[in-house]
């Protein structure tokens, strides 16, 4: 191979390397940035007066007089709306049955749409569900609901060769000639005054309990649950993993049995996490009965089992990477095997082991499948420490999935889901960052 081809090859290789790194970075940015922006929207958003109302009522937050003032002013701007409806209803009572028949359903739908937007009408009985007791908290959602008031969705199935075609029919047209006719225009023009949107930093999203299955409040129970599960898993996995790694590297003779054991550990690292979840249910809960049903304890044990192989491998590598000379030096000075491991080998392997630990912890925090059957519930209160032995907990990973798929009102609470994603991703990123810093600091101490 002459110099020219060698140069071209080198360049091609370097070029493709740079290209793939750029591609990865771009992918990361494309995935992360929207996620972070939308997650941030759970904390910093344009809140309506309804949000401040709820904060005052449920969390005792905000200035009561100011909120009362705001509520009064919005009540005034909203009043004409309800007046129109009451007037129309009165009119209907005395009108003929045909027009009553004609307007009953549209009017009910209209009232429902307005209720969705602004909350219960003044003087109405307080609804049972908390979500029905308030109007829209977030200006963005309010605009969506406004559209539902202004327009009615209609599906046209007349063409059998195609699916239904959606059409938006202005509601105002349904009420021409009635007292309700100007309602839509009035609502559209005065919505801002009815809801008083304002940019709000709701950082308590991170520390508040959730109300009415995540309709209101924050995600503290999930954060705490994830913390318990991850820390619990590490409490089991770190000692076991370290002891196993030490045994495999320092004590075990290279027999065929040990070789098989190693293969098993590697295989275990590749087992799908849902299998660990089912195993955890069958073993920890049904067989060992560590708790009568789902609990943080059972979840932690399952997670520990899942990350154990990775942890063992990482620690093994780290221990193997410790120069043989350290061990020889310690032994030649008359240190026992155990003491050599504790005083020389482990400290020198610490950077690698720490990296393994933190990365496993990130995985334990993020995994969903192992805790579905063993620890996770979708709604719950934050647990006290002593409850972890018997109580299940909400957790970020599981609730992201749950809110995205199984919640009855997925669209209403997207922001909560994105908020959880933001927190979980930040958590994992912070853990990884911590690993890098820790590693750098420990290696610096070792190198002097």
């Amino acid at each position: 191979m002459n110099l020219k081809t060698r140069k071209i090859l080198d360049r091609a290789f370097a070029g493709s390397g740079v290209f793939s790194i750029l591609l990865m970075t771009a992918a990361l940015v494309v995935i992360l940035v929207p996620m972070l922006i939308r997650g941030w929207g759970a904390i910093y958003f344009t809140a309506t007066v309804e949000h401040r109302h709820l904060m005052l009522e449920r969390f005792d937050r905000g200035n009561p007089e100011r909120v009362a003032d705001e509520l009064n002013s919005t009540r005034e701007t909203r009043a004409p709306l309800y007046r129109m409806i009451t007037e129309f209803e009165k009119q209907l009572e005395t009108s003929d049955s045909e027009s009553r028949k004609r307007y009953t359903t549209p009017l009910r739908e209209l009232k429902k749409a307005i209720h969705d937007l602004l909350g219960p009408a003044p003087g109405a009985i307080r609804p049972m569900l908390m979500r029905d007791q308030y109007g829209q908290m977030r200006w963005g959602r309010a605009l969506v609901k406004l559209r539902n008031v202004l327009y009615r969705e209609e599906w046209d199935y007349s063409d059998p060769t195609r699916g239904g075609i959606k059409a938006l029919k202005p509601r105002a047209a349904e009420f021409t000639g009635t007292p309700v006719e100007p309602l839509c225009a009035y609502l559209e023009n005065n919505l801002t005054d009815m809801m008083l949107p304002r940019r709000t930093l709701y950082w308590q999203f991170l520390t508040d309990n959730s109300y009415d299955s995540h309709f209101f409040g924050g995600i503290w129970p999930e954060i705490l649950g994830t913390f318990y599960l991850a820390v619990g898993a590490m409490l089991f996995a770190i000692p076991l993993g370290l002891i196993a790694a030490i045994y495999l590297t320092e004590y075990a003779r290279e027999t065929r049995l040990i070789g098989m054991l190693r293969t098993c550990i590697s295989t275990l690292a590749g087992v799908p996490s849902i299998v660990f979840g089912l195993f955890g249910l069958a073993f920890f809960i049904n067989t060992l009965k560590v708790s009568s049903s789902k609990s943080v304890l059972a979840g932690s044990l399952t997670l520990a089992l899942m990350i154990l192989p990775t942890l063992i491998r990482a620690s093994e590598e780290a221990i193997r990477a410790v120069p043989h000379t350290y061990k020889e030096a310690a032994l030649s000075l008359g240190a026992g095997r155990w003491h050599t491991v504790m005083s020389v080998i482990l400290p020198a392997a610490l950077p690698g082991i720490l990296t393994g630990i933190v990365i496993s912890m990130g995985r334990a925090a993020g995994e969903t499948a192992p805790i579905i059957f063993t620890a996770a519930v979708s709604v719950g209160k934050p647990l006290a420490l002593w409850q972890v032995f018997s109580q299940p907990t909400p957790a970020l990973s599981w609730n992201i999935y749950n809110l995205a798929t199984e919640h009855e009102a997925v669209d209403e609470i997207r922001h909560v889901q994105y908020g959880m994603v933001l927190v979980l991703v930040s958590l994992v990123l912070i853990l990884n960052l911590a690993a890098i810093i820790l590693r750098a600091r420990v290696s610096k101490r070792l190198k002097g």
Partner: protein, 276 residues
């Protein structure tokens, strides 16, 4: 081979022992008797027999791969770490077979210190390096520990260079300083024998000279066995020399005789640089 006592009688300088502490005597400290070491099927040391006198410096020389390190590491049983390694014959330390099943290896290694070819300080502070052995073997308060550390560093001729930076990481020292630190670390355990496996091969001439001077100073207080590839070094520092070839001991005797009138042709060839 000349009997040991005759050799010593020939060497009044050795006999008088110009160093403080223990004086050299005629006592045999390590006796190797028809001793073989195997790495699985490969016999690295073949039926070797010789006596190492207490308090003197004994050099082991020979071409690469002849088993010098192996026999050295047999004395403090570092070969136990090598899977598949086993021995035959006897290796007596103070009259007791090192390979007896009831020997406490940890105690043995405490009495037989070792300095390795490449300086291998722990990635700890200078102080902690030297204190490692004493901390292992006895409960000492900080004052006693500091005393031992200082004495060992003084003995290893390193004290003046590091006394202001005992808390620095040992890896920040130069190679020669690191090797002297390793010697100090061994001295702190207060062994009876010092095994040195090519202790200067990774060092420059100046650092080498310092280590050689150090060996001269330690001579008499410790029985020193040194493996070296450097003929001049063997001639300079040792009282006795063993020449090994392909696992067998060819010749053992006072260094002066080995270097001036070797009885075997192989020894002569090796010393004069015709092979190896």
């Amino acid at each position: 081979m000349k009997p040991l006592d005759m050799v010593i009688a020939d060497r009044p300088d050795v006999r008088s022992g110009n160093n403080a502490g223990r004086t050299p005597d005629e006592r045999t400290h390590v006796a190797v008797k028809v001793f073989s070491v195997f790495y699985r099927a490969n016999q690295a040391v073949k039926d070797v027999t010789f006596n190492i006198p207490a308090g003197y410096v004994t050099a082991i020389i020979g071409p690469s791969g002849c088993g010098k390190s192996t026999i050295l590491r047999a004395i403090n049983r570092m070969n136990d770490l090598v899977p598949g390694c086993y021995v035959k014959g006897e290796l007596l330390f103070d009259g007791q077979n090192v390979y007896n099943p009831d020997v406490d290896v940890v105690m043995l290694r405490r009495r037989v210190g070792m300095v390795f070819q490449k300086p291998n300080p722990f990635p700890k502070s200078i102080f902690d390096n030297v204190a490692y052995g004493p901390r292992l073997h006895s409960r000492l308060n900080q004052g006693e520990l500091a005393e031992i550390v200082e004495r060992s560093l003084v003995d290893a001729a390193l004290w003046d260079e590091v006394k202001d930076r005992l808390d620095d990481n040992a890896l920040s020292l130069s190679g020669g300083q690191q090797q002297r630190l390793c010697i100090a670390r061994v001295l702190a355990v207060d062994p009876e024998i010092l095994l040195m496996d090519e202790p200067t091969s990774a060092l420059d001439p100046r650092a080498t000279l310092r280590i050689e001077n150090l060996i001269a100073e330690l001579r008499g207080r410790y029985t020193i066995i040194i493996v070296t590839h450097n003929m001049q070094q063997a001639a300079r520092v040792s009282d006795f020399t063993a020449f090994m070839y392909e696992g067998a001991l060819i010749e053992f005797g006072p260094t002066k005789e080995i270097f001036t009138k070797p009885t075997h042709k192989q020894t002569n060839d090796y010393i004069t640089g015709r092979f190896g």
